[in-house]
């Protein structure tokens, strides 16, 4: 390791120090996959790993690391789609394939631990009393970002709108062969009618947000760690 990385490594072991996001990424690039775990173990439990973007406590990172390792049966250091499909509960989830796709954006086939944590960090419960710096970007687990994430589950071609065919696709995944095409079409039409405010026969993100105004996103799109 070079000298400045050594400093970073030892800095991470002192109590109450916090690494900024850039420092964290620097450190990760230098350490091997297994040393990564040693560093997270060395961090005190209360230490947040970055100032704003990714806030997951270090003990949760250890849990996720163990989970990543358990899913990575061939010890590749990364996960591919079939590693996810081996999770039985995910394989029987009607939206399983969509969810797996959320981990592999831009046509990539492998995901490393850093990205794994970043995607799961969206499900961290919303901070009750956020320290709002005036120009800070929205934290990744805010209500708006959770909604954006759900929007992307519908909007596969990423054109910013949920078209009728995209809605049909998702519905078809959720009902399988149990419902006829006509019934699905009528349900889709009705839904778009209700939510579409500007009459373009598709649901934009703003319309999506408005339609889910009263839903308790904070609770329903959050995963709480017990230990």
């Amino acid at each position: 390791m070079e000298t400045d990385q050594c400093t970073l490594y030892y800095k991470s072991k002192t109590v109450n120090s916090a690494l900024s996001r850039t420092e964290w990424i620097q450190l990760k690039e230098v350490l091997s996959f297994h040393d990564w775990k040693l560093v997270t173990l060395a961090l005190p439990k209360s230490c947040h790993l970055s100032s704003h973007q990714i806030t997951v406590s270090s003990s949760h990172i250890c849990r996720l690391y163990d989970r990543f390792h358990a899913l990575d049966k061939d010890d590749k250091g990364s996960l591919n789609r079939s590693d996810f499909q081996n999770i039985s509960e995910l394989a029987v989830n009607p939206l399983g394939d969509r969810i797996i796709n959320a981990f592999f954006p831009d046509g990539m086939d492998l995901i490393d631990f850093n990205s794994f944590v970043r995607i799961l960090a969206r499900f961290r419960p919303v901070d009750q009393n956020p320290k709002k710096e005036p120009n800070a970007p929205e934290p990744i687990n805010s209500r708006v970002n959770k909604l954006k994430f759900a929007f992307q589950l519908y909007d596969q071609d990423k054109d910013g709108k949920i078209s009728k065919s995209e809605l049909l696709q998702v519905l078809r995944m959720m009902v399988g062969v149990q419902v006829t095409e006509e019934q699905l079409e009528s349900i889709t039409d009705r839904t778009i009618q209700e939510a579409d405010l500007d009459g373009d026969d598709a649901i934009s993100f703003e319309e999506f947000k408005k339609s889910l105004d009263k839903v308790d996103i904070e609770h329903k799109m959050s995963i709480r760690f017990l230990r």
Partner: protein, 442 residues
């Protein structure tokens, strides 16, 4: 040089005699000299001391010792209907059954992400995580260096386990198994008679007792009045091949299994001479009706020993009981359920066949502190009139899980190697369809 050779010989003979005299002979007759009890007491005290030091070392508060749950994340236990209705509550429109909402997707996506972080099945095929370190490196998942004293104790532990206990246990296991082969073959020469059966039971019991000492196994049997009788089927949860030694220490069973080659094959051929076990060729195993017929014939003969079956079909890590295959429950006859629970502090009995082969598994067993387990004999059960084999199997599984304090899962143990069937996904799709289409069938 000669003197040295002589001394080694004498030392070996003395040691061997001690082993035979103090361990093998009492084991054969089922008497205990109390050496194991003393060892266990010392071990328990040491582990408790180590636990306190570790807790002090990591500055944890002394929380009340109730493990909140087995899981690491909080999961909503509601049904699909309840959860989705909750999601829709914010709507200003009245609830009409037979409607789709954009918020429905949250239910499935949350369930999906929860299962990525933690699911019920994947971790059943790896060793159980310990609450506190038990001074074995193999269970050192998240525990760090604490203090010099702990490390010294650990080094001492390694020395004791590998240099003292391991050779002792290997010797005992060898003696036990050779005695089984020789004794069974000798008994097999006798003509069929009551004496032969009695002798064969004796030989089997003796050998398994020696093997149990060879693993430093301390077994607590409960409810011995429910012990399996002849002509019955004994059913138990499966954690490792050692289960057979554990159960056979207290009774004689007819084993069921595939014919193997090598050492195991020799043992199989020897013991089948002494009393009837049921061994199948690999090709025969595929024919379900043939298997059922042979087992049925065995069970029908009331002079034959109860057969021992593990309906899970594979080894699971002793925190849960997985789906029982219905084949064993179609044979008929009385089922005697048995629950086996190992104490994970003293040694991890689970055989992770993906990670370890049989030999390395046995060496791991023989270098653990000890094997401590509880065996509960449950009252016998028979299949009711209107019950299908599957329902009966689930009933027995629930009873075993309840007694052993294990989680009752309906997931198939075969998921260790195979993917899950699509039928389960279709079930979920069906439930959801009912919600959005309503009760009108079309």
């Amino acid at each position: 040089m000669e003197d040295f050779g002589n001394i080694v010989c004498i030392a070996f003979i003395v040691w061997f005699t001690l082993v035979v005299g103090l361990i093998v002979l009492p084991a054969m007759f089922g008497i205990s000299l109390g050496i194991t009890e003393v060892y266990m007491k010392v071990l328990v005290k040491t582990l408790e001391w180590a636990t306190l030091r570790i807790q002090r070392g990591s500055k944890e508060q002394q929380k009340p010792t109730t493990l909140v749950s087995n899981g690491i994340i909080l999961r909503d236990d509601g049904s699909m209907e309840k959860e989705i209705t909750d999601l829709r509550k914010g709507r200003s429109k009245p609830q009409i059954n037979g409607e789709f909402e954009l918020s429905d997707i949250f239910y499935f996506s949350k369930k999906g992400f929860e299962s990525i972080v933690e699911d019920e099945v994947t971790h059943r095929f790896t060793s159980e995580e310990l609450v506190s370190w038990n001074l074995l490196t193999r269970s050192n998942n998240n525990f760090q260096y604490i203090s010099l004293r702990i490390s010294i104790i650990w080094v001492l532990g390694v020395f004791i386990r590998y240099c003292i206990l391991l050779p002792l246990r290997v010797t005992l296991a060898t003696i036990g198994l050779s005695w089984l082969v020789i004794g069974a073959s000798l008994v097999g020469l006798l003509p069929n008679s009551r004496v032969k059966n009695w002798l064969s039971e004796l030989v089997h019991l003796m050998c398994y007792r020696i093997c149990a000492r060879g693993l430093s196994a301390t077994i607590y049997y409960h409810n011995k009045e429910n012990r399996p009788m002849k002509g019955g089927i004994c059913v138990a949860n499966h954690t490792s091949p050692i289960d057979i030694v554990i159960l056979a220490n207290d009774g004689c069973y007819a084993m069921v299994g595939q014919v193997h080659g090598g050492l195991l094959g020799i043992i199989q051929r020897a013991i089948v001479k002494a009393c009837p076990h049921v061994w199948f060729e690999r090709s025969e195993m595929k024919d379900r009706s043939l298997v059922t017929k042979r087992l049925r014939n065995h069970v029908a003969d009331k002079t034959k020993l109860p057969i021992l079956i593990f309906p899970e079909g594979t080894c699971v890590n002793n925190t849960s009981v997985m789906m029982f295959k219905k084949g064993s429950f179609e044979i008929g006859g009385t089922i005697y359920p048995v629950a086996i629970k190992y104490d994970p502090r003293f040694g991890d009995a689970f055989w992770n066949s993906a990670k370890y082969n049989m030999v390395s598994y046995l060496i791991r067993m023989m270098t653990s502190w000890a094997i401590v387990c509880d065996v509960w004999y449950l009252p016998s059960m028979t299949r009711q009139e209107e019950e299908s084999a599957v329902q009966f199997a689930n009933r027995v599984k629930a009873a075993i899980a309840r007694q052993g304090g294990l989680v009752d899962l309906s997931w198939d143990g075969g998921l260790k190697r195979a993917k899950v069937k699509d039928a389960y996904k279709e079930e979920q799709q069906k439930s959801y369809s009912k919600m959005i289409v309503g009760d009108d069938s079309s």
